[in-house]
């Protein structure tokens, strides 16, 4: 029972970070109808920039800010320079381009920062409290994700900018007629996704070992979480992220050497969902070809 509670709590915290990452995929998918398989690699790169900053300045928070800013810039630049040209083309061209971004960033990070495993510092203690197996760093992760999600919600629901972004994603032609600078909105969407992804990347890294491939599996978890929610639903992505987080800790906790199997478990969930309810659990569209 004790183990179950611990695993559940850890699963929810892990799941909240997965949810944040899945949100970035949803954000990009809604804006440009592209699944960005390079998102994890971009986030990893930001996290490494943060790690370098922390090493040089000894300040976790400066690194944290560097990650968010660099994530914002990388996301925007990737959209404007690379993805913009394939947004209207065949969708698999876009898939292949994002895969190029994926390998490219992982290789670049390996060259610049070395491809050994390094420890990433945590902002707070990583020792659990006495009664519950939850650490101050875990609480920080949960709060950071909640704040970020809240800000995103405010941006999209209560600001003119958010309305313009939603309009650009909903109907490009109409939005353009109404004076929305659609191109800028798409770039902004990718930049925000980049920042959010960098946040998820740093939170996953904090207090854990990192290598340039540490986000590879997270891309899969984020993708599965996003598809679970229907790929265009923010709520769905959050629920999907939590499901994935819990699956992760349960499989790793209850199956012997289960941590090697978590990605396969995610694959099993993905296939089951796609075959039984292809539109996801929270999709807004009535029917979609998967």
């Amino acid at each position: 029972m004790q183990q179950f509670v611990t695993l559940t709590v850890n699963g929810i915290i892990l799941g909240s970070v997965f949810a944040a990452f899945a949100l970035t995929l949803v954000l990009i998918y809604r804006a440009t109808r592209i699944i960005n398989f390079g998102q994890g690699a971009m986030a990893m790169f930001s996290a490494y920039l943060a790690l370098e900053t922390i090493k040089r300045t000894d300040s976790y928070w400066l690194g944290f800010v560097v990650a968010l800013v660099s994530g914002f810039i990388i996301g925007g630049v990737v959209e404007r320079v690379i993805v913009r040209r394939v947004e209207t083309g065949p969708e698999l061209n876009a898939v292949i381009v994002t895969l190029g971004v994926f390998v490219g960033f992982v290789a670049l990070a390996s060259i610049l920062f070395g491809n050994t495993i390094e420890g990433f510092p945590a902002p707070f203690s990583v020792r659990g409290f006495e009664a519950v197996a939850i650490t101050p760093t875990d609480i920080f992760k949960l709060i950071a994700v909640l704040i970020a999600m809240g800000l995103l919600l405010v941006l999209f629901q209560f600001t003119s900018l958010g309305l313009q972004m939603r309009a650009a994603a909903f109907g490009q032609e109409v939005a353009r007629l109404l004076g929305v600078r659609v191109g800028q909105m798409l770039t902004l969407g990718w930049a925000l996704a980049g920042m959010f992804g960098a946040l998820a990347g740093v939170l996953i890294a904090s207090g854990a070992p990192v290598s340039p491939t540490y986000m590879d599996a997270v891309v899969v978890f984020g993708f599965v979480a996003a598809v679970l929610g229907g790929l265009d639903s923010f709520v769905g992505a959050v629920v999907g992220g939590l499901v994935l987080g819990l699956t992760n800790t349960y499989v790793a906790g209850y199956v012997e050497r289960g941590s090697a199997l978590v990605t396969l478990a995610a694959l099993a969930i993905l296939i089951t969902v796609l075959l039984l309810r292809p539109s996801g659990l929270f999709s807004s569209s009535v029917a979609r070809k998967v």
């Binding site: 083309g89 969708e91 061209n93 898939v95 190029g100 390996s110 990605t263 694959l267 979609r288």
Partner: protein, 391 residues
């Protein structure tokens, strides 16, 4: 099969003809289905089925002889490179069939290669006396069975969903090897004892070339024989009814259905054939590198295969061979440039993936239609447009 050939051959025949013409893939599109359709065909075309097989067989024999000559004359580390090319060829050719001909993308072929490699390693570990041909066949069958499962799921997915699902497979499946320490060797993987040449083969090689047969050379011979055989089978399959069916499914689902093609079955079959090729490739990789470990089959391997088909030109087997050559010979070239530029060995090892990532992006941006209609995914776009129009 033969009874249904008459009615289906005509409508589907149009599609490959058009496609091949526009893409410049070798071949006239004539070939099978001739028996039920005597009128309007020249004598030459009526003779083609036999001569297609013979022509391909002759071409492959020449390719094999060429490989043997290269292996014998170059020697040294080039033999290892040619061995590596031999295991890339079936994998890239299989992916060409799946993505280029049938229009399904797969990022999971690295994982399917792992299935073939681990099958080989497990069998050879338990019994070294099994003829390697049998091991190769077993690897192909086991991977084909996995291919049925994956293909059945894949046949219902398209575009990004299929890419994501196969990506999950590529990232997840090596985990199974890590998990199974007793059976699959865990993180360390399994050592593979390469097959030893029978005495008569050694004698024959010595008689023909005057050189002794090393294990490395023998393995390279096996690899090339298998690779050439796979190419022979695939080139004939692509010219056959199946090739036309796969192209028809890729180009226009509705037209293909009207012609009596079962879309799902055609897709699963393409996936299974492609998976068998990947299994053969994995099996060859195991004996060439003499090791199967989870780190050999990361997502990077799958993306390398994708690079090979995109660069080599989708839908052509010759392109697949060129793509495989590119993987083998460009990697050390780029790595050396990295070392020249003052990078450490570990850093330089990553210059190749960096270059490949950039290559993928640049080809997609600069010449999406240029390199053989880059990915023949227009059909998928059309499909997606139709789907969203329906939605």
């Amino acid at each position: 099969m033969t009874t249904s050939q008459g009615p289906t051959a005509n409508p589907t025949d149009d599609t490959p003809g058009k496609v091949q013409g526009s893409r410049g893939v070798a071949g006239s599109g004539a070939g099978v289905g001739v028996t039920g359709d005597p009128a309007g065909r020249s004598r030459l075309q009526r003779l083609t089925p036999g001569s297609t097989l013979l022509r391909h067989a002759l071409l492959m024999l020449l390719a094999f002889v060429g490989a043997v000559i290269l292996i014998e004359t170059l020697g040294g580390f080039r033999v290892a490179q040619l061995g590596a090319m031999a295991y890339y060829i079936p994998a890239v050719a299989g992916l060409t069939l799946l993505t280029g001909i049938n229009g399904q993308i797969s990022l999971g072929h690295g994982a399917l290669m792992a299935v073939g490699a681990y099958t080989t390693a497990v069998v050879l570990e338990r019994s070294e006396s099994v003829p390697f041909l049998l091991v190769l066949l077993l690897a192909a069958i086991v991977t084909g069975l996995v291919g049925i499962v994956v293909g059945a799921a894949a046949s219902r997915l398209h575009g990004p969903y299929l890419a994501g699902a196969t990506l999950a497979l590529a990232v997840g499946l090596p985990g199974l090897a890590i998990w199974s320490e007793e059976f699959l060797g865990g993180e360390q993987g399994l050592r593979v004892q390469p097959p030893q040449a029978p005495a008569w083969v050694e004698d024959a090689i010595f008689f023909v070339t005057g050189n002794d047969l090393t294990t490395g050379k023998y393995v390279a011979y096996i690899g090339w024989a298998a690779a050439v055989f796979v190419l022979l089978v695939l080139s004939n399959l692509l010219k056959s009814r199946y090739g036309r069916v796969w192209r028809a499914v890729r180009d226009d689902e509705i037209a293909a259905q009207l012609a009596g093609i079962n879309l799902g079955r055609a897709r699963v079959l393409a996936f299974v054939v492609s998976a068998c090729c990947a299994g053969v490739a994995g099996s060859l990789l195991a004996i060439v590198t003499r090791l199967t470990s989870p780190t050999s089959f990361t997502i990077v391997l799958s993306i390398y295969l994708l690079v090979a088909i995109v660069v080599g030109g989708l839908g052509s087997l010759l392109g697949a061979v060129l793509g495989a050559a590119l993987l083998v010979f460009l990697v050390p070239f780029v790595t050396e440039r990295g070392l020249d530029a003052g990078l450490s060995a570990a850093q330089a090892a990553n210059t190749a993936p960096l270059v490949f990532g950039i290559v993928l992006i640049v080809i997609m941006l600069a010449a999406p239609q240029g390199l053989v209609g880059t990915i023949r995914m227009r059909y998928l776009t059309r499909k997606a447009t139709k789907a969203s129009a329906r939605a």
